[in-house]
């Protein structure tokens, strides 16, 4: 019974809203959803590991406000991101753009996999160890007998 109650309560809790102050939200729910999606891809420069939607920093609140202003003014998602990167650089994007300077970053999982694969193949392809010499075989037999 208590388990059922717990499940019901957990279901009723719903997701925590990114912004705590409803006055910040845009009146149009579709626009607000876009603003939240965009904001969650933009880094808060003060804390550096949170998005501006998640951060409680003053600058993050200002930037959330600007994202909403620009969306309300009719900017596309790409225009809002461009507005941010022209001021704060590529670092402001939590999902970096793919270009020459970030190619290594994006390619690193594939490179790691290829390197591991190459090592495995090399090990497999290596010649098996040569058979034991007569002397080694004798020594081995002796050790096995001792052990028993």
């Amino acid at each position: 019974m208590s388990r059922l109650l717990l499940v019901l309560l957990l279901l009723a809790a719903g997701p925590a809203l990114a912004i705590s102050d409803p006055r910040e939200a845009l009146p149009d729910p579709a626009q607000e959803q876009r603003a939240e999606a965009l904001g969650s891809q933009l880094r808060c420069l003060v804390c550096q590991n949170e998005s501006i939607e998640d951060s409680g920093a003053d600058l993050a609140r200002d930037l959330r406000g600007i994202v909403r202003q620009r969306i309300a003014a009719g900017d596309s998602d790409a225009q809002v991101i461009a507005w941010m990167t022209s001021r704060y650089g590529e670092f402001v994007r939590l999902r970096p753009h793919f270009d020459a300077s970030t190619a290594l970053l994006w390619a690193s999982p594939v490179l790691a996999l290829l390197l591991a694969g190459a090592l495995v193949l090399r090990r497999r392809g290596a010649a098996p160890p040569p058979p034991l010499s007569a002397h080694e075989q004798q020594e081995l037999d002796r050790l096995m007998r001792e052990d028993v």
Partner: protein, 184 residues
């Protein structure tokens, strides 16, 4: 020495190289010329953002980007606030810079006018020109992410350098002085 022994030494060599690197980074952090959290500014080499800002006491009039451009010498724009602890830390160095003739223009970032005026009265006013950015929008156009932040604007209005954090004597000597000479 055979190949196997050389390979055994490789981890030691890697650790040694990393140690030298870490030591250099820590030494530069201690001198205050390196901040691992600082970010490159996309404004470097580009014209400064345009702005017109109102005055901040004790100055009666604020200033605009056009006036920075017309200053005829490189201008160091400093964003500060009375509520900012590192701003008080760098203040002695700013006073030194002003005394030595650097054109230092201040922008009070999201500060109460009377609080910023009180801060300058208490610590001294190193700024040749002074303006107030109440909303912080001009600061965002510059890419400010925390005060204090300083921007060196050359005589053609191009942003040449950004320093996020307090300016120390080491930064003045190592970085700012050579830049001022280069763009004088």
């Amino acid at each position: 020495m055979n190949r196997r022994n050389l390979l055994l030494l490789a981890p030691l060599a890697v650790a040694g190289a990393a140690g030298v690197g870490f030591y250099a980074a820590l030494e530069r952090m201690r001198r205050g010329t390196f901040d691992p959290h600082s970010l490159p500014s996309p404004l470097i080499g580009k014209p400064m953002p345009s702005f017109v800002l109102p005055g901040q006491a004790p100055a009666q009039f604020g200033f605009s980007s056009d006036e920075v451009w017309a200053a005829g010498s490189p201008v160091l724009i400093n964003f500060f606030a009375s509520w900012c602890v590192p701003c008080a830390l760098e203040h002695d160095e700013l006073m030194q810079l002003a005394t030595s003739g650097v054109a230092l223009w201040g922008i009070a970032y999201k500060d109460k006018p009377e609080a910023a005026a009180g801060f300058l009265q208490e610590h001294g006013n190193p700024f040749a020109r002074l303006a107030a950015d109440r909303t912080g929008r001009t600061a965002i156009d510059f890419g400010v992410y925390g005060v204090p932040e300083s921007y060196l604007i050359d005589r053609t209005g191009i942003v040449r350098w950004r320093w996020a954090g307090p300016i120390t004597p080491a930064i003045t000597a190592d970085t700012l002085r050579p830049l001022l000479q280069q763009f004088a």
